[in-house]
Chain length 528, copies 2
Amino acid sequence: HVDEEVTLCGWIQYLRQDLFVILRDFSGLVQILIPQDESKSELKNAFLGLTVESVIMVKGRVRRRPEGQENKKMSTGEIEVCAESMEVLNTCRKLPFEIKEFVKKSEALRMQYRYLDLRSPRMQYNLRLRSQMVMKMREYLCNLHGFVDVETPTLFKRTPGGAKEFVVPSGDPGKFYSLPQSPQQFKQLLMVAGIDRYFQLARCYRDEGSKPDRQPEFTQVDIEISFVDQAGVMSLIEGLVHYSWPEDKGQINVPFPSMTYEEAMRDYGVDKPDTRFGMKVTTDDCSRVCALCCQWKLNMGRWRKWMIIAAFALCVVQEVSVVPVRADGSLKSPLSRLLSDTAKQQLLQMAQANAGDLIFITAGPRENVRPLLGKLRLQCAELLESYGVPVRDPSVFHFLWVVDFPLFLPKEDNPEMLEAAHHPFTAPVPEDAHLLYTQPRKVRGQHYDLVLNGCEVGGGSIRIHSPPCPFFSVLLVIRDVIAFPKSFRGHDLMSHAPDFVSEEDLKPYHISVVWPSADIEGQQDNSM
Amino acid sequence: HVDEEVTLCGWIQYLRQDLFVILRDFSGLVQILIPQDESKSELKNAFLGLTVESVIMVKGRVRRRPEGQENKKMSTGEIEVCAESMEVLNTCRKLPFEIKEFVKKSEALRMQYRYLDLRSPRMQYNLRLRSQMVMKMREYLCNLHGFVDVETPTLFKRTPGGAKEFVVPSGDPGKFYSLPQSPQQFKQLLMVAGIDRYFQLARCYRDEGSKPDRQPEFTQVDIEISFVDQAGVMSLIEGLVHYSWPEDKGQINVPFPSMTYEEAMRDYGVDKPDTRFGMKVTTDDCSRVCALCCQWKLNMGRWRKWMIIAAFALCVVQEVSVVPVRADGSLKSPLSRLLSDTAKQQLLQMAQANAGDLIFITAGPRENVRPLLGKLRLQCAELLESYGVPVRDPSVFHFLWVVDFPLFLPKEDNPEMLEAAHHPFTAPVPEDAHLLYTQPRKVRGQHYDLVLNGCEVGGGSIRIHSPPCPFFSVLLVIRDVIAFPKSFRGHDLMSHAPDFVSEEDLKPYHISVVWPSADIEGQQDNSM
């Protein structure tokens, strides 16, 4: 753009030596040269009167910077703009914090002045990246795959079961709307209605307080398809992620690897394994002993001792033994005296442990001890990272399908009984259907989760389409953290009529219904 | 596709003569040939056992229909599919109504069985058209014009003034969220935050009951831009409408014509004129007489008399005279005897009336009588159309900008006082700014409405950017029917902290806050 006349609007980032102004907008920074001639002293004085973060409009001419004055760290470092006129759109008084990446500010201050916090390059990048990714997803679904974007109502009826829902009082006494946990019921009805490929960037609500990965309202990519199978949905979603993946995050490969629920629980003690690092849970096939080998690998020097102490601390309330392996391969543990040499060798072999490693050993029912070791695995990774040992590369993205979930799991409060592992309309794997009434614990469901670096980012299932659910479709939901509503009521769902809510339902909100007093007032008027 | 093996899934539209099944999906209909050989009697019987609207999957081979059996009304009328196998995905029992365009059903029945109603080609077309138009709008804004799609929260604080808002009780006793009337405050803060081009397909809430053009929740294309002027926004929006306009609705031309508020009120008695037809309001420059000439044009034959009676009925409670013009040009009215021949000539000329026309005459302050005649103009159009006279072509789309709105209007309850015509942060037209304190009624605002066939489909304004509103931006909102929130509170808006709501605020909902009784129970325990 050298020699071009330009008009720039933006925020003042720096004022330098009465000579330069650095102007910022979302695309970056540019240097403005303040004129120094006597004839333009008015303009110069206007510039010198400016404060940082004021908003100005500058007209001027682009020129190459004098040789030796280029700034290679700046994408516009080879040019500058000679100001010819300037309008102050708004002046900025003192701000609660400077808009510079290196200025540390508390979370509370950032939230209080959210509109200033969003000026930072990092927040600008995040908001713009989200917008672009969502746009790409829409292109993929709408333009390339014939999906219909349908907006479903949010003032709805209560769904029994599932998460706690927000209620919204209607003007009708004693009647309330409910904000939906997900468009679950609407999208199933859309399948019945012949919208064979539905999607929505859907706002969902759960009245369950805020957690780092869960807010009262959140958005999910909500998909439902008729006439497909599990492989079809999985390849559609792989295509979706691949198509919308941001260029600056590196290439991702499709298809994603797949792991059964059984393998995930066996090797990682969790149904959403972080496969960026090893340290798998191992099991002795003959006994009920499970082990986790934390491979220090590096010579930890002076930190090693502290890390072992920290590892002991992790296990102190749990029935897990921590066994450091000495440089000569011997075990540094009271256990060492109790075990025969053969047993020690077996243990080292089972845990695939080497000199310098730390073995976590425990025994008990596998369904209990594996999840315990799975948690320890992640805690060890955090511990190592806190001492500067790289374990999980934050720049890589390991997508993983987890499939073949059990259709039923023992009830939490009564493990003798079974309940649907996900929702009660997940279809069984056809080959297992004959076991439904004889060995229900062995029946796998056509449910699949998408896991990224140990986070469940999506999940779905093939639904039962034989009566009483009169359709054949597939659900896939992608969001930061996922959960499924637990029930389904298939009638009169598209209407807006609010439901009656009992006093009992309102207790958590500390409100009660007041019957309108108009009639009583009317009687008073008559009596007077 | 002739001779290809195909798999089709869909709903059974018709069963014909034990020979054919017509299968429907969203893309249309196709004829399936039921095999008649003895060897395939099982398949034939399966077909014959089907009911209309059952869902099936058919595999078969496409073939050209025998000569003479083509159906030119059907887009697949030249082919049929010879069924080789068929799977019943679901059988349909008797439905409350048939899924055929010609079957009349009540609005209530359609709403009750919304998922069946949506199977009709018309509803499928509407849902799919909306999805496609919205997608095109996003492409235009995001991909072609650098807008950032930002999702703003819906669990928010109350905005004083404006429409009545829904409240949402939080778990915190006595504290409530409010569902926003529009993302107004968020988007203004996004401008402050440096998101210079924001848009959102925004869900908005107003607790004002349902009307045909207003529902408790609705969606608007919500836009805000920094560093632009009125002409810039108008051309952006013209581009948006042009880009996203559906092909099957014919070409629309940009730029759209523009009309000042004053012209609209003068000629049409309304700020959102339907410019598809004439019949303008006319004014005698010397007197306070205004007239509307309803040009019958056609020979109405036997209906003419009834229409005149209906026109009289329209005016009976209003101080409007209806004056039919006879074939010889004379006036058929008691007024005729009161007016001189010159006056009659002047009236005919003013109203541009011809033989056979109907003139509506009234007198009074123009700001009162013009809107009255404006309403009569639309009622006449309806009346003529109800008798089969084409007035407004439903297949044409007349977009129109209405500009130069007054910045202030007389208060409804106290016409001596002024209030902001739109919202209080609309900037004045710069040339009028000097009149702000001397002749405020003459000051025009930088506000613009987009009108389509007499409906306000969008509107926006240049905002005041000098303190106390520290930004420079532009609002444009497009939705079926528009209104603006009346106030703006510029602090602490991005946080989720619910606001305190008084008992007074809750009265319309017939609820009251109950203080938690846990403390009192604790005391009782102690005393026992």
